[in-house]
Amino acid sequence: MSKATLSARFRRVDVDEYDENKFVDEEEGGENQLGPDETEVDSLIRQGNLMEALHAVLKNPPINTKNQNIKDRAEGLVLKVLSAFKSSDIEKGVQSLDKNGVDLLMKYIYKGFERPSENSSAVLLQWHEKALAAGGVGSIVRVLTARKTV
């Protein structure tokens, strides 16, 4: 019965970390990105000013931050605003956004698809249809190729 008496700790070394050709993403500082302002958005929803709420919730997207909580909170907030819209108003909401806004909205929509809750998919699909009409397939391609996800 032979057992290696020398240390086997080398087996725990991750050799890929030492590969000099390893591609490392350039992480720009995103620590101060807190996501959209929750209080502002909530008050706008309560006032019934949904257009403003949409614009407010799409400000300060937590793209660069590594903090998963901030991202989840932002996604939840966006979902709240999107669900608050009436179906007939969705198109106007999308029209009021500029190109970057539509791209960002698409990112949030796909993020929402990832973790479906009770009614979220239906609402998100309605928004997806209108955002697709505004942004075209290109906006979906940008969601897929973006290295910094929302």
């Binding site: 050709n21 591609f23 993403d25 799409l58 997207p61 793209i63 190109k99 970057n100 806004g101 791209d103 960002l104 990112k107 942004g135 075209g136 397939v137 290109g138 906006s139 391609v141 940008r142 190729t145 973006a146 290295r147 910094k148």
Partner: protein
């Protein structure tokens, strides 16, 4: 608009000779076929068999009549026409991954090869040893080079890479040329110096910005002062030498564009996975890039009322009685367009350009007739 279907396989790459009577193309295998124009027909005149892997790039030098090909077998060959046959000369590229693209320099005394080994090989002919020698540009390339384009001054080289950046390098080889004069991209140009890099500190911070996508295609304008590139995140960008801190980008609504070329100093034509070429207009004063129009003449499907027989056929085939025209591709190319080349007029006054794609077909587009066919299309 002439369209000729060469094969059923995709055309990997193509190159025209000087007077556009012959085209060299790779039918998605290890060979290069040369076709000669015979009135309206194309006849195959030569088969260049030397590569052991798919031929990924072909370039035909117009004046010296040499063809350079590069392939997935990590080799490049320079072919010269001797007594009616094309004879290959091997070029040692010293790369350990596939070569992806190759371009002759404007003076045809050197060529550049982009590869998966994260470097660019600049090859020139050494008279004393009577063979091709290469030098490498490595830093700071982090991934495969997908596309190359030379500046008219024969020294600067633009490279689009899979590390999401488009860069301009100096490929000055002192053995074959004089020191270049200053350009808007810079004045000191030692070999391997990076004169410009996109997406770095130059790009404006956008909410949806970030890395972008793989740079599929790069193109210098005729004067060399402007550089355009297309990226996999469906964007097209133009940078101007001297004003490199502001890069104009346009996020398009289409699928990613795979190839781009300037047709005048202000207009670009790009094509890609949407199977039709698209025009973009660059306004230098405003620094803006705008969508100019879709350049394809769709076949006017004669909707003359469907006969009963067709109705049943449609029902059988599609479970619906109507002709589903939005699912049919009514563009000239039936699959993605992978390469575009200027045929006549140069990059400042292009009158004809050619596209080849994954449907094995080649289309020649006439700029004048496109302008008259599409209303609101203005090529500035």
């Amino acid at each position: 608009m002439a369209y000729h279907s060469f094969l059923l396989e995709p055309i990997s790459c193509h190159a025209w000779n000087k007077d556009q009577t012959q085209i060299a193309l790779c039918p998605n295998n290890h060979d290069v076929h040369i076709y000669k124009k015979d009135g309206t027909k194309w006849t195959k005149t030569h088969e260049l068999k030397e590569h052991n892997g798919q031929v990924t790039g072909i370039d035909w030098a117009p004046d010296s009549n040499r063809i350079v090909t590069c392939g997935a077998d990590r080799n490049a060959y320079v072919w010269t026409l001797k007594e009616g046959a094309w004879k290959p000369t091997l070029v040692i590229l010293r790369i350990n991954r596939a070569a992806r693209c190759v371009k002759w320099s404007p003076k045809e005394n050197k060529f550049a090869v982009g590869s998966g080994s994260r470097l660019i090989s600049i090859c020139y002919f050494e008279q004393e040893n009577d063979w091709w020698v290469c030098k490498h540009i490595k830093k700071p390339i982090r991934s495969t080079i997908l596309s190359l384009d030379w500046h008219p001054n024969n020294v600067l080289l633009a490279a689009g890479s899979c590390d999401f950046k488009c860069r301009v390098f100096s490929a000055y080889i002192k053995e074959v040329e004089e020191k270049p004069g200053p350009t808007p991209w810079g004045s000191k140009m030692p070999f391997g110096e990076m004169m410009f890099e996109s997406g770095g500190s130059g790009a404006a911070a956008q909410t949806s910005g970030g890395g972008g996508g793989w740079v599929h295609s790069v193109c210098f304008s005729h004067s060399g002062n402007r550089l355009a590139w297309t990226s996999h995140d469906s964007t097209v960008s133009v940078a101007e030498g001297g004003k490199t801190t502001t890069v104009s980008s346009l996020s398009s609504e289409t699928l990613p564009l795979l190839c781009v070329t300037f047709i005048t100093e202000n207009s670009l034509v790009a094509a890609g996975h949407d199977c039709y070429p698209v025009l973009f207009v660059y306004d230098s004063a405003k620094g803006s890039l705008t969508f100019g129009g879709k350049l394809d003449v769709p076949k006017q499907a004669a909707q003359k009322g469907i006969s009963a027989r067709e109705r049943f056929q449609n029902l059988d085939r599609r479970a619906s009685e109507t002709q589903g025209t939005d699912k049919d591709l009514n563009t000239l190319h039936k699959n993605s367009i992978s390469q575009i080349s200027v045929l006549a007029g140069g990059r400042n006054q292009c009158t004809k350009f050619c596209t080849t794609g994954m449907d094995g077909g080649m289309a020649i587009w006439d700029v004048k007739s496109l302008e008259s066919a599409m209303k609101n299309l203005k090529i500035v």
